[in-house]
Amino acid sequence: MIHVLATMFGHWRRAPLQLVLLIAGLALATALWSAVQAINAEARASYERAVERLGTGDMAALTSPEGTIALETYVRLRRAGWQLSPVLEGVWGQGEQSVTLLGVDVLSYPGAPAMAAAAETEGNLDVAGLLMTPGVMFANPGTRAKLERDDQEAARIFSLPDLPPDLVLSDISVVEALLNRPGQLSRLLILPDQPRDLPPLSARAPGLVVTATNDGPLGDPGRLTRSFHLNLTAFGFLSFGVGLFIVQGSIMLSIEQRRGTIRTLRCLGVSVSSLMTALLLELILLALVAGAVGLVVGYSLAGLLLPDVSATLRGLYGAPVDGTLSLRLSWVLSGLGMALAGTLLAGLQALISLRRLARHLSQASYAPARLSASQIQILCLSGAGLIGLGAVVLSFGSGLLAGFVGLGGLMLGSAVLVLPVLNLLLQGARRMAGSPELQWLAADSRLQLPGLSLSLMALLLAVATNVGVGTMVSSFRMTFVDWIDQRLVADVFVEVETEAQAQSVLRWATLLRARSLPQFYSDTRLNSAPLRIYGVVDDPLYREHWPLVRKTPDAWERLHGGGAVFVNEQLAQRDGVQVGDRMTVGPGWSAPVAAVYSDYGNPDKQIIASLPALRAQVPSPTLLRIGLVPPEGMSRDDLAQRLEQDLDITRTAIRDKEAIKSLSIAVFDRTFVVTGALNILTLAVAGFAMLTSFLSQWTRRLPQLAPVWAMGISRARLAGLEFLRSLGFAILTFVFALPLGLGLAWVLLNVINLEAFGWRLPMYLFPGAWARLLLLTCLAAGLAALTPVLRLLRLAPAQLLGVFSNDRP
């Protein structure tokens, strides 16, 4: 066995480049997959840390449609035997400095141990200190620093890094005093262990609603961000699959090249099973080495991408993820396992062909694998079947998973169809071609198809994903830019800190004849999820600009005159609210919905009411920002300057519309950096797969090329044709991939986005981007073809001649 192994391995000593390519391919596949896994694991661990130690996970909660639950209700339920943990939540402080206060009963709150540990290590504090006035508070270090600057009570704020930003956790006794809401609770968590024979909740607290998962700030961010991670995983898996095509190509190539060795070994009495075992061992060894390399690369890649991912997660979902990576054993093992499983899968064909080779030594080895009609039929049927299945799942399924499964069906089905479609195209091309040379090229290309099919599928998937994801991101960006332009109704925005300051800005604006758009709002909760209600003044600018996606014809009149409200798409989607419905906005406040507006980049629900309507419910809503429009003849800059001079407002508190816009767009772009990076990497991997396919076809190529060469087509010309063929394949694949990519984009925009974010986006087409992608695809194909082309150019005639006879020296 050792000798067999050594002999088989000897091949790699003679073909070091091939070995490097193989390991590189496998390593790349493993790297992309495990990078994504590392990122996901890190994010998940971050959530879990927060949720496990401080939060309530998916624990069900009791909430009240009224928004608050009386303390008596809690005690009544407790005295009925229900094991509940009360939570009081509210917004504390003003403007930029405001934070969410979360008050819990430390005797029953599941996350209390972490609070206690922090209090003990940081403050050497005992239980009494935790429970009794003045009490202590917990916040993550960033939030704590923010509070310390202007709060004398900072001394009793302890650091708890697992808390999400802008959240302060404390005992309920402290929080009810700070919020001035004695005797009120926001929700009651239903603890896991309940005594036997409890009376039904409905009997004891008829007004309360059981929420299966609570959307509180320490609810599970994993639920919100699931879509994002699923997305990443899908991407990683795609890259991995594409990478496997490389491995498959390389291993087949190595078998092809070891034909002689294998024949000799067989003649020397080595059994087929020993040969198979040797190959299997070789595959395992390769997988482990490449897997290890891939893990190292993947780890660094993840480290590189993680800050952007965490920015994305924070930006889109407000989910806290550390920007640093930690090494996990499970990750290492799963990465290696994946590499191993992938290699074996990719090596399956090699194993089969080795067995055939070893069993039938005498059979002509150069018989080309021409596609039979029945094979084409099977491919067509299974491709169409997969696409049909995908379409059915997409039309009738619901939810994120259905979206991805449907997409998977579409893409896989299309990939399977690549072969028959290209076959058909080449058949047509052969008939149409005028010159015998091109006819030969078309015919010969058809012959190449089976060997290239896997890498062409990889290319198809990569290109389609590129088109799809690119279209989605660009459409989103375009919509976003448009939207933010509309949304920033005023030209200049002033941040104000106090009520008095706000009033003076408003007075000043009136004197100057500038129009002012004060943005009053009030933060509350709706069905236990955060809700912000804006009260807007009746200004024509809103009517002209505010981006409404669905509305009644007289939406603005109904808002200002009829007590109607507008809701953002997120709220409409999550709560199933439609234009014309009547909804409960808060305790004793229900209103018809006159319009739904788009509200991108905001994870939370939002409502717009007229200012008088908001004031009727909330006597003094928060006012932190005032929009200003300069009077005729005054520029934005002038207005900002006057504002600064007249009212002594610091420059940093005055924001130009353009500045806000560019900042927002910058944040948006940063959000999709990862997607872009993965896109390019996938394409690179596909190019690489083509290269290995070409190389593995090489030994088969000579008998195909030699007769043509002998008939007077020079090597340079053959090389040129070979290059052309590669480009042709790339272009054909691209043409095929484009509609698939657009379909993908449509699904992403209309199904996945809706599920993940709660908004539907219009789809735009970007021919410029396609052209660039086509160029990139051709570049990849060209680079992939470069090695065989160069080899062909340098090919000695003797090698070509060698094909024709058995007994050449």
Binding site: A80, P113, L131
Partner: protein, 378 residues
Amino acid sequence: MIAPRAFRVFVLAGLMLLILWSRAQGQGYANLGSDAAGFAVPDRGRQLQFPADHGPHPGFRVEWWYLTANLRTASGEDLGVQWTLFRSALVPEGPAGPGSPGGPGGPEGWKNPHIWMGQAAVTTATSHSYAERLGRGGIGQAGVVTDPFSAWIDDWSLTSADDTLDNLSVTARGTEFSYDLSLQQQGPLILHGENGYSVKSEDGQASFYYSQPAYRVTGTVVLPDGPVEVTGEAWLDREWSSQPLAADQSGWDWFSLRFDSGEKVMGFVLRGERGDFTSGSWITADGATTPLSPAEFIATPVSWSRVAGRDIPTLWQVEIPTRGVSVEVAALNPGAWMGTSFSYWEGPVALSGSHRGTGYLEMTGYGDARSSNPSERK
């Protein structure tokens, strides 16, 4: 989940330090540490006042209402039931306030400085189920009031129709059991020590301590197999104090024994490095009580059981030579371990020897397996 339990240990360590007179768990919590720290201290000359003293004493740091019952089913199987409510004050006197529903002083609402803990258990020869409840004072979730008498936490309660402890109802419920019992007193309240002033160490640490040792019980206990009707006898202890154990004391063994002759004994051994401190009361059938002097009550472990990873004496020899008592005290179920926030052994016992009877045994300070190696004991 393990973490919240760990936290409860954290919270209650200080509290239980006093409740169970064990110093092992409580080091490092400054204001629960080593002395009464501003809380009221038992006054040797004070006469107990009823019904007021059935209610809480918020000036004292710690206090409990402690009921144990030896019961028998219609088919003759023995079982024990425990119902306990502890009160602990985090700070000596809460800020002045109107008091609260059931709260023993201090302000109403979450700011109330009292923490309540309930523990309940049902022990048969083959099973032992227990449950625990925690609650904040001041909000009505837990408390004790006196007219009529009622002590409760969540849905567990010990109540009377009037301001006496003569006739009580007691209920509790866990995930595996529940019970609902009626208690009728068969004799007077008895005061331990010196008119209720019970000394706990050579250094003079003391508590107020009285009992109702003679209840007749009827009611229903629900076990995993279903409800069973029970009858039997119960014993209620009331005790409050502010002072911890003496520095060298590591735990105690507490006995409440009921002889078929109608006489009863309460006796305890506080285990200390300087030697054990023993005390007790001899109660005649008609309720006349005599304190036992330190040397009179002798309890010796006879054999040990491995329970919850530690060795616990579950068979004792109890002797009171002056009263002609020499009985073997055997646990009905050696596995009666209370794995609650602060864990200890508590369960029904059967007596044989010079007297026959039943009773309850509580053993603390065996919590840490390392320090309870039987070989280290005499």
